[in-house]
């Protein structure tokens, strides 16, 4: 990973599977093999809702990410309520560096003036979007010396920084993440107000769901439009500039997702993956089945029941539609 940050990725796959995956997907960082899930258990993140015998699944973690500082102390961590939500690598790098890197690789728009420069940019994946991958829309304010903008709360009549992001149906936009403000004292008004000065990054995490960018069927559009409305008022110690409202429009291409070449994915993805996962899946299944043969039989019965229920739901939906 860039900028002196080390990256490690751990899974319960064997070395052979990881070696091929690493080569075919051109992965530069180490993939570590925790075949018996001992490290996953020691970290306390084994997926304990999966039972031994549940096909090849037992031993996987609740997926997530830890970021540590130079002393090995956790400074940030990422876990989600569903495994489908994943943080973009750029989000993890920013968490490790403690700042937002805007490298100009994604869509961006600029506004403001010489006193307050405003940039709206998508961070990560050169601005592309795909199901469940959390990227960030970053609004960067660059304030001339002496100027500040306001956080909340402010008295009535003053304008705090507001960022509103709108996308098409199926784009989930989370609450903005704001940096900490500094208290700014106005003695003649006997007020202390929360302000930012210098460079201020407001980060708005967002991700598409299946409605916009399903990974189980071909994409039905090439891109999605993001509309970003920014409102702010900059002041120095004596006077305030007029409040401004600016709207930026960014076009985000939808990313085509590779799926592993495996029967469960066939016909569901958008592009067949780079490598044949079947031999690795067979090995994994053998390894897991051997440990819980009865559990595996129970799983097969359960899976057949779940499949029947799913087909029934699909029939009902068809009739209703």
């Amino acid at each position: 990973m860039a900028a002196g940050v080390k990256l490690y990725a751990i899974s319960y796959d064997d070395r052979e599977a990881l070696a091929e995956f690493r080569e075919k997907q051109d992965i530069p960082y180490p993939l570590l093999s925790d075949v018996d899930s001992a490290t996953i258990r020691r970290y306390g993140i084994l997926n304990d809702r999966i039972r031994p015998g549940d096909a090849l699944l037992h031993g996987i973690p609740y997926p997530g990410v830890f970021v540590c500082d130079e002393d090995g102390v956790v400074i940030s961590k990422f876990f989600h309520d569903t495994y489908k939500k994943r943080d973009s690598p750029e989000r993890l790098l920013d968490a490790a560096l403690g700042r937002v890197v805007l490298d100009g690789s994604g869509p961006r728009a600029e506004g403001g003036d010489d006193e307050v420069r405003v940039t709206a940019a998508v961070r990560g994946g050169t601005g592309t979007i795909r199901q469940g991958i959390i990227r960030e829309l970053v609004v960067r304010f660059e304030l001339a010396a002496g100027l500040h903008v306001y956080g909340e709360p402010v008295p009535e009549g003053m304008v705090p920084v507001q960022v509103d992001v709108q996308g098409p149906p199926g784009l989930v936009v989370e609450a903005p993440v704001l940096p900490p403000t500094k208290p700014h004292r106005l003695p003649e008004m006997d007020l202390t107000l929360p302000v930012w000065s210098g460079t201020v990054d407001v980060r708005v995490p967002f991700y598409p769901t299946g409605e916009l960018a399903s990974e189980t069927r071909p994409l039905d559009r090439a891109s999605a439009t993001l509309s970003v409305t920014v409102r702010y008022q900059a002041c120095d110690d004596r006077t305030c500039l007029l409040p401004r409202t600016e709207t930026f429009t960014l076009e985000l291409p939808l990313d085509v997702v590779d799926v592993p070449r495996l029967s469960i994915h066939t016909g569901h993805g958008q592009r067949e993956g780079q490598y044949d996962a079947l031999p690795h899946a067979r090995r994994l299944l053998r390894r897991k089945r051997r440990r819980a043969p009865l559990g595996f039989l129970r799983f097969l019965v359960k899976q057949a029941r779940l499949e029947r229920a799913a087909r029934r739901r699909a029939r009902i939906a068809d009739q209703a539609g």
Binding site: G4, K6, A17, I45, N47, H80, Y83, K84, H265
Partner: protein, 72 residues
């Protein structure tokens, strides 16, 4: 397998309730917390060389990703 959309709006090629689709329950612990020291580990990489977290990162900041699988 049947593709179904879950309560989060995500599609996957497995029926709802399938063990492979079970996510993190609310309130479930997620390992070391902010401020804790990340437990050291020693695991083989794809080439078979043992990688020790603390030795390998050698005082650098690190991102440790636990993912589900490279196979499926």
């Amino acid at each position: 397998m049947t593709v179904e959309r879950d309560e989060f709006g995500f599609d996957a090629p497995a029926p709802l309730g399938h063990p492979g689709r079970l996510g993190l329950p609310e309130g479930h612990a997620t390992g070391p917390e902010i401020g804790d020291v990340l437990p050291d580990f020693a695991l083989p990489d794809a080439a078979g060389d043992l990688v020790r977290l603390d030795e390998d990162r050698a005082g650098a900041r690190a991102v440790v990703v636990f993912f589900r699988s490279a196979v499926w």
